[in-house]
């Protein structure tokens, strides 16, 4: 989902990764903190 978010940002959309803090807390391994966040 973060991948989609970054792509949409590149196209000019204003994107918020909504649940990132929760995902980062759940899975704090470097590099995966936003990859699977559920909502943007």
């Amino acid at each position: 989902m973060a991948g989609l978010g970054s792509r949409l940002q590149a196209l000019g959309f204003d994107v918020a990764i909504a649940a990132n803090a929760a995902y980062a807390r759940w899975s704090p391994q470097p590099g995966v903190s936003t990859a699977n966040c559920p909502v943007i």
Partner: protein, 349 residues
């Protein structure tokens, strides 16, 4: 306080206690995610995109009067074409069995039910079970975009018209990103290594991975910390888009995004699926001819992993097919249909 959900050790089946702890932690996480979703949406949004485990986003959207669109990385709609991905198996139950069990599971209890109910109550929405909301969205042909390549998994014939397969959603490489100098040097110092990494999915340490790499006689780039030597190097967050095409093969858990990244790179894949949709993607990779038979995590040993790595790196047909698939994926643009859907949804407001 941070904590990490860890599965059982490799080569062992998860116990009932493991599964109960996992479900409890998953429920806690989803509750936090629902709170984060509400906070972000209340700060101002035109459209919400929600993946398959975030149905509470539809409750937030309903309360705020904004559209929500599904943005799924897995095929979660009950279908004759595949078993329910939450079962953690790629074994088909037959068309009728797949669809029937998919429907049953979809209407059963899930860890996101409680966050959904809590959000509805907090926002003053009428009581409605998450499964009932799912049924309503199906009946109204609510749109769900799937970031899946039709080259890798063709759109099932029994999907309703609102379910779209867009192609993969590749992450942007951060502008100005530079690879670590020691990694560049490591890659230049010998033949292409094998990437071995499992993200947050597995309880595998560097020693296990190194043993497998040594047995297979390959150099390795490891997705765990603490290794630096002529035969192996640890890495942190490195874009798959940059790293994977430089590998002789990639070894991973076959999560949706990592499986896609490996196929995009055009190198053979060794899949070590652990749970949920991972066996499904692992089976797709094997069916497509881009790697050997998966090594299920619960059967994983260093010997089995080494054997699979040897097969992946010495079988020319895997490399050829992987390159062919990568060329096909390069022609797809999965983000464009999402942008179109977002603009259309925002216009309707």
């Amino acid at each position: 306080m941070s904590h990490r959900v860890s599965p059982a050790a490799p080569g062992k089946k998860a116990t009932g206690a493991d599964l109960r702890r996992y479900m409890r932690e998953l429920g806690d996480y989803m509750d936090l995610a629902a709170t984060g979703t509400l906070a972000s949406a209340e700060a101002g949004t035109d459209v919400i995109l929600a993946n398959a485990i975030a149905p509470y986003a539809y409750d937030v959207a309903e309360a705020l009067g904004v559209p929500a669109i599904g943005a799924h990385l897995q095929p979660t709609e009950p279908s004759t074409a595949y078993p329910p991905v939450v079962l953690g198996t790629a074994r088909s139950l037959g068309p009728v069995g797949n669809k029937l069990l998919g429907s049953l599971i979809s209407s059963g209890k899930a860890p996101y039910d409680a966050p959904s109910a809590r959000i509805r109550q907090m926002l003053g929405l009428p009581k409605k079970a998450r499964s009932a909301s799912d049924r309503t969205r199906r009946k109204t042909n609510s749109p769900v975009l799937h970031g899946i390549s039709p080259t890798v998994f063709p759109r099932p014939a029994d999907w309703r018209s609102g379910l779209t397969m867009t192609g993969y959603w590749w992450p942007e490489v951060e502008p100005g990103w530079q690879p670590p100098a020691e990694l560049v040097q490591f890659l230049a110092d010998g033949p292409p290594p094998v990437f071995i990494g499992f993200g947050s999915s597995a309880a595998l340490d560097a020693e296990f991975m190194l043993d497998a790499a040594h047995r297979a006689g390959v150099r390795a780039v490891l997705g765990v910390q603490g290794v630096a030597g002529p035969d192996a190097i640890s890495i942190g967050a490195v874009p798959h888009e940059w790293l994977f095409p430089q590998m002789a093969a990639v070894v991973h858990h076959a999560g949706a995004g990592t499986a896609a990244a490996g196929l995009r790179a055009g190198v053979p894949t060794v899949s070590v699926p652990i749970y949920t949709d991972q066996p499904f993607w692992a089976a797709r990779i094997t069916s497509l001819g881009a790697g050997p038979q998966p090594v299920p995590y619960k059967e994983l040993t260093t010997e089995r992993l080494a054997d699979a790595i040897t097969q992946a790196t010495t079988t020319p047909a895997y490399a050829a097919r992987a390159r062919q698939l990568a060329a096909m994926l390069a022609t797809e643009d999965g983000t464009a249909p999402v942008a179109t859907a977002l603009r259309a949804a925002a216009k309707q407001m």
